[in-house]
Symmetry: C2
Subunit: 196 residues, 2 copies
Amino acid sequence: MPKIVNHEEKKEQIAAATWRVILRGGMKGATVRSIAKEADISLGALRHYFSTQDELLAYAMQLVRERANARIQAILSETLPPKTMVRRVLFEIVPLNEDTRAEMDVWLAYVFSLGRKADSLGVQQEIYSGIRKMIEYLDHRRLLREDLDKELTAETLYSLVDGLAMHAFLEPRRLTKERTAAVLTSYLDSICIEEA
Amino acid sequence: MPKIVNHEEKKEQIAAATWRVILRGGMKGATVRSIAKEADISLGALRHYFSTQDELLAYAMQLVRERANARIQAILSETLPPKTMVRRVLFEIVPLNEDTRAEMDVWLAYVFSLGRKADSLGVQQEIYSGIRKMIEYLDHRRLLREDLDKELTAETLYSLVDGLAMHAFLEPRRLTKERTAAVLTSYLDSICIEEA
């Protein structure tokens, strides 16, 4: 009887191999050949699932997006005080454990490998618009300090989140998860009034 | 009479070609071959100056460092109110004009291409220690708000600076230089007391 292979499962396995290759040596080493080797399949088999390297990378990055979104949706469905909810969502974007760190690392390696193309692809749009919504939400719940410019505050928080992600990638030994969490928490406190 | 070629000048020309190649297509396209073509020299001539691609990249990045340091030293030698001085120095690190934007873009493309190797190379150490010194300086001049944790404030500013640089790279159309400057200025205001 022929072995039944779940197509989606196989694609996810290949995507996971792609992540490992990127994490080890950056995007430069993430060739179709090295990914096939890491996934322990032939080049031909890999090409059956992904006909180009760009297609493979796009899929691997789509998985990063979906995983992060699923975790955020789970938090949004809980009943939490507004500021706690915002903090919890932010903690899913910045790398605070091995899984989210790996996700963010491959994400950053990917977007930077795009060079000038990154802009037209709008790769970061979801993160920025998500953070704007969080600021709107805090304001709507009357937790945002009234003297703040909402636009600038969203831009600042967005830069802070990605700067932390970048440093967690470049300096994982120095920037511990405790320190990352403390920076975000103290910034959030500085823009909010006390929660009732 | 044989043409006299200035060795250092030639190396800088090659480094500039390297930057252009990286800016156009990211690190992936920055091969010795494409850089030689961009610099309009033979592969052999390029190898005369840089025997490996790593050597060439390291030199191009060293130039980024030196240029930024020279600009910062020029500001430090001026007589400026402390907070103004700190803001001016920060404005040399975040990309606020075409030159510094190009510098930061190649810098980021470079550090991210290193993958996990970036940590052991300590590529970002200079920026982080510079920012710590700025916070110490503000505190020493009694301009830093007294309720702040200096360590966390330095970490926050450091993340903010690199997050802005990252977004200027990924979203140059949205994140204008005016907006970048406004974010940094408002953050600096938020951690400082009024300058006398």
